[in-house]
Amino acid sequence: MSSLLAIYAGAFALISAALSVTRPNAVHSLLYLVVTLLALAVCFFALGAAFAAVLLIMIYAGAIVVLFVFVVMTLPISPEAITRERALLRRAWPLPVLMSVLIVAPFVFGEIGLKATGQPAPVSAQEVGKLLFGPWALAVELASLLLLAGLIGVRHIGRSDRSPRSGS
């Protein structure tokens, strides 16, 4: 039952993802991205990964999409821009579609014959925490380094040109 729900939600996510990457309007695109992420969160719940689902909603659908929204607010969305986007997409689609098919095909044909058994079992947040701060402590440290590098990089990129030595 729960895995059926997972597949259903996953398929929903797939469809809204396809819509999200093809919308010419940036706001629509973002809305479909949110729908994709919410559907994925439902899928995670159904698979018993409640912690991951909550994180997905909070960080992905919350923080990251809010970032996107801030940036979209600075964009002028005019009807001309939308028609231009649509025209560009109409010309460019065949090769990327071929590429996507090439990527999916091995999965579909390679896994269709496999015999997998078992039921999804819930994994508690406690176990994840024990894993992350026990044997994976080094990976967590590396991730924190990555975040720090991102922080410094963004601060450097986002500097304004007019006063080159401001604040440093």
Binding site: I103, A105, P135, L138
Partner: protein, 689 residues
Amino acid sequence: MAHLLPFVPVPALLGFVILSLVPVPLSRAAVIALGVGAAVLPAILFFPVGLSCIEGVCVAGAVVPILSIDTGVFVAQIAMSMDPLSMVTGGTVVLVGALVLIYSGAYMASEPLPDLRRFFAVMNLFLAGMLAVVFAADVILLFLGWETIGLCSFMLIAFYDKLPKAVASGRKALITTRVADSFLLAGLMMLFLNAGTTRLDGMLAAVPGIDPWRLAPIAFLIALGALGKSAQFPFHTWLPSAMAGPTPVSALLHSATMVAAGVILLARLAPLFAAAPEISAMVAMLGILTAALGALVALIQTDVKKLLAFSTMSQIGFMVLALGLGAPAVALSHFAIHAVFKSLLFLSAGVMSHAAGGSTAIESLRGSRYRQPLAFWSFAVGAASLAGLPVITAGWYSKEAVLAAVWSSGPWGVPLWLLAATAAVLTGAYAFRVVFVAASQTADLAAPAWGGLAVVVPLTVLTLVAVIGGLSVGALIQFTGGATVHTPLLPTLLGAAAPILGVLLARQLVKHPQELEALAKRMRHVRIFRFEVLYYYYFVRRFRRVATVLGNAEGTEAVADAVALRREGVDVPGLVTDDPLGRGASQVRGIRTDLITRATDGQTPVVRMVAGDPVGRLLIVVARLFVGFFVARFNPDRIDRAWMGLAGGAGHAWALVRRTQTGRVRDHSLWIALGCAGLLLFAWGTSWR
């Protein structure tokens, strides 16, 4: 006292953090006090640790653990070692570092404030990195320190960042050492994979169990890394240009400590190299090569800093030689003594050239004896130690130990010893050349006052150590686990005579400078010890000559020879009038000969001798037929055409390839996606059932 050891580098690191990262404006005096204090504190902290050594705490294999990282597969233990090796090298580094920083507090005082702050910040970071290298008991800490000192070296060579030359020199040093460092990293990783631990003692314990075929490449890679940092023969080009940095930098990094890091590494991994004798032999060869060539090139330098740079290369070559011959204790004692007298030389040369108006040319030091007596005499003591004047100087004891190790190193000992002794003669010559020039009288004696406690203290301390340190050489060798080698009387006497001979040579050269100039002219090819020029001289020029001969250009030596012979009445068949193969093309161009014809008929005297008897004639006819049928097909025109076609094809290929590099994000991600799809298809194909 052992737990104090991990805190020895901490003040230097704190000094770097405060000076570079804390955004509080500091006054000039505060910057100098912080920078110097952060370098003196490690020496004070090290003192009790060193004292505890006398009580016998430091034995081989003693370590102070700092922390361990459990990655699940293995446990990386970060630790510092307290063995005699790290005590000797660490003591040298803290002493020299503290004294040089005190000196630079006075030397750099007139720099602009931001530059001054940058200078002391980087110097402190360097000191912390160097201490990490010498104390490291595991490869992680070692490599961290190793890379830190490499980076600091770059930043300090390029310290005068308004001068393009300084920046270029820094870049050269960075790239050269980085290439060597990647070898080192590869070697250390392979060693780790074979030993399964990052601790150095664990790695060395695993060495006997490693297959020799794996051990040799590991030792080779690590040796290359160490030689690169130490500016030995294939990687030496960066050191002379590294003198673009300020003088204290040259004194600390590029003579006393950093360039000797390779020696320290090789000494620490000595059992590994003992298990790979062929690599040790290579290391020894490169060492003696660098020692001899460096001394030869130093002899004809006109700039005192360049001279000292080449002499550093040469002296480190001596250490590497001793290491390659399996005498790490001797190499370490020479390291300690060399660090002292070489930094003494640099510091006093800095004072003298400052008094001479900032010029570092040897000629401008003339008269320093009267302008800066203290600096001159300490330079003289340093030079005596560098030359190794017998009995009174420390350099003699350590160099004698190296020479003794060379003498008693097996069948090749004596020839190697001769080479090393020649290098020692040259060392005496170049060291005292500067002393004699500086001692001579000159009219211009206007002495700008420069000195003070910050200059006097380091010079005095270093001078004292350079003189009385020799008494400790035997103890040092014993302490670091080497046995004193007893050599026969003859090589000892000869070894003692070598520096004196060198001094006499220097006297001669200074009295007759034109001899030196003549020597310099003759040694033009050696002076271009820099690879790129050498490469041009020996490869490009030769190739061009061959190309002109092959291309039948008129006016080449071949044609000139042939014409000259013809004029003397000798029959030269290579010329056009009696072209044996009757190739018509040559008649159009007039006189014409090519390499092939020259090879068969051109060497007339031999050919004519043979021409009398039928067998020889037959041979020549066969050769001519061979030339006519096979070789002539590849006549220069056709080769040229094929060659130019290839070159043109490269141009077309370039134009084609260029069109794939659109710079568009979409197209580049298309290639990435294609690779991804390819990998997935491959995975599918290999898991097919």
